[in-house]
Subunit: 325 residues, 2 copies
């Protein structure tokens, strides 16, 4: 990897220059030592942005909701960073032309920064990189950071777990799908949106959501349900209010600090897991041991023990640092 | 944890006794040293069963398909172990009474063993425990092992990645849902089932699946699409044939060995990740360091480095073994 001038990048971030921001996000997408150094240095600047995740199944209109939210914040003079962690998002260039054109208006606004996160890469790497990118946007002084993510897959759930306010968007007529989402994300949603609520079945969806919420564990915050037709900008104000109310709740309760600690825990655990796999695979030891163990019909526990021990020895000998380039 | 007589358990497994099998599976669900020892000892006996996963969204009729498959195998005199990794499965007691009664017939057949896997527990632990349970059933001499899992969530995808043949069930009229499933599981499905194929929209679903398959990477095996009405036992024979054809393909190509190596890799990586978190959290070090780092506004990379280094030192001092009870 060529050597980047991190000082120059950081200076660019401080002035919210899109070019440096883009390059800095590429650094955290690649991971490794430079990503670590970059996040280390921006973390010292403190964290002030409101970080909102918008998630839900494909077709729920998440991008349009993000677009509406971004415009509403801009109308109040606040700056907005948008990260699209959804390969089908128009922000990633993956949608209908009309949507893309609408998004491009936002691109020309210097108070808005839009970036699509690469979904390729190592398992778990996407969530780490996205959370690191949030830190970079935060360090650049954006008031709001909106993270759009499709609510499917562990990586995406992990992304959602690292935001302050989770907006879960659904649409009428997805009976089974709501059930499917429930498994992972229902429990962590702070605001529910029934988008396309002019469609048939909106009342049934509202009833379903309400009864699900009644059955769920009571907590300090009672997640509101907002009905929107994002394509016609209906319900945007109510959604903004719901998000603001949640933000006030976070600030006034102990919840914000609890949530940020939990975010830190998830990020650290992810990094520890990356570290051990790196250490175990130094010099392709993992692949070689696996191939050998497979030939000998060894069980995974015996193999994992041996690999863990040799990783520990290797790291100990190298003075504790992971095997990064 | 009380001390179990592993020899007695293993003797029970050798005779396919349900009581010992159930207790052995509980051991792997708990994890830790006894799980490791149990898997170690059964692995030495070799692996012979055909391991088939049946996955798909809620409402696709997975349990009914599993029920039909199990009966078809029994009719050929073969024994069947069933693991339900789906909280809504009738095998787990989570469904309509009629379904449950039908399943109970299978319970009284000594050639069938049915077990619901607990979905609670540590992140990633479910996939590990389920794969360990497959080993136990294999060691007990079951010819077929059927794993039913809802196709949502990383844990479930991880379960599916550790079977030999992946059957993906869907039903007509789930346009968006198919898209959602596509993200994780489409790529690893070996046999597609359109269940409830007497419903309106079955032709459209067939077309959608076909065009998706045409767009996907070509590989040695071309996944067939089977149409079933499992509730009326229609299409069962075709499904059995498709699974058998895939099994023949696995045996005759290098694919079986490649897949088993990949399964071993996933299992070892999961164990390595568990090991490093255990080691980092020995004596609650992880929690304490996190709380301290959070107070000081430390970044996750710095924290992860420190925790990794102290975990390595602690493990080195203790002689390399993980911090298990």
């Amino acid at each position: 990897m060529h050597d980047l001038d991190l000082d120059a990048l950081l200076a660019g971030l401080a002035e919210r220059r899109p070019r440096e921001l883009g390059r800095a996000i590429s650094v955290v997408e690649r991971g490794g030592r430079q990503a670590a150094e970059l996040v280390r240095r921006v973390t010292r600047r403190g964290q002030n942005a409101a970080v909102v995740g918008v998630t839900g199944p494909p077709g729920a209109g998440k991008s349009t909701l993000v677009d509406r939210l971004a415009r509403a914040r801009r109308a109040e003079g606040e700056t907005v960073g948008i990260l699209a962690v959804d390969p089908t998002s128009p922000f990633s260039g993956g949608a209908l032309l009309g949507d893309r054109i609408r998004m491009q208006e936002l691109y020309t606004d210097p108070g808005v920064f839009i970036r699509s996160m690469a979904t390729r890469g190592a398992m778990g790497g996407l969530a780490r990189a996205t959370r690191d990118a949030v830190d970079l946007l935060d360090a650049s002084g954006f008031d709001w950071i909106l993270v759009e993510t499709v609510g499917v897959g562990q990586d995406e759930v992990d992304v959602v777990r690292t935001v302050d306010t989770v907006v879960l968007a659904t649409v009428p007529g997805l009976g089974d799908e709501i059930q499917a989402i429930k498994a992972g994300i229902m429990e962590i949603a702070d605001v529910f949106v029934i988008n396309k609520s002019d469609r048939a079945g909106a009342d049934a969806t509202l009833r379903d959501l309400r009864s699900m919420l009644q059955m769920s564990e009571p907590r300090g915050w009672k997640p509101p349900i907002v009905q929107t037709v994002a394509s016609e900008n209906r319900g945007t104000e109510e959604l903004v209010d719901a998000i603001d109310a949640h933000r006030v709740y976070l600030e006034q309760s102990s919840e914000k600090s609890a949530r940020r600690l939990q975010q830190l825990r998830l990020r650290v655990e992810t990094l520890l897991k990356e570290r051990v796999l790196e250490a175990a695979n130094r010099g392709h030891a993992l692949e070689e041991e696996l191939a050998r163990g497979f030939e000998r019909h060894e069980d995974p526990y015996t193999l994992a023990d041996r690999l863990f021990e040799s990783a520990v020895r290797a790291v100990g000998a190298a003075g504790g640092r992971g095997g990064e380039a």
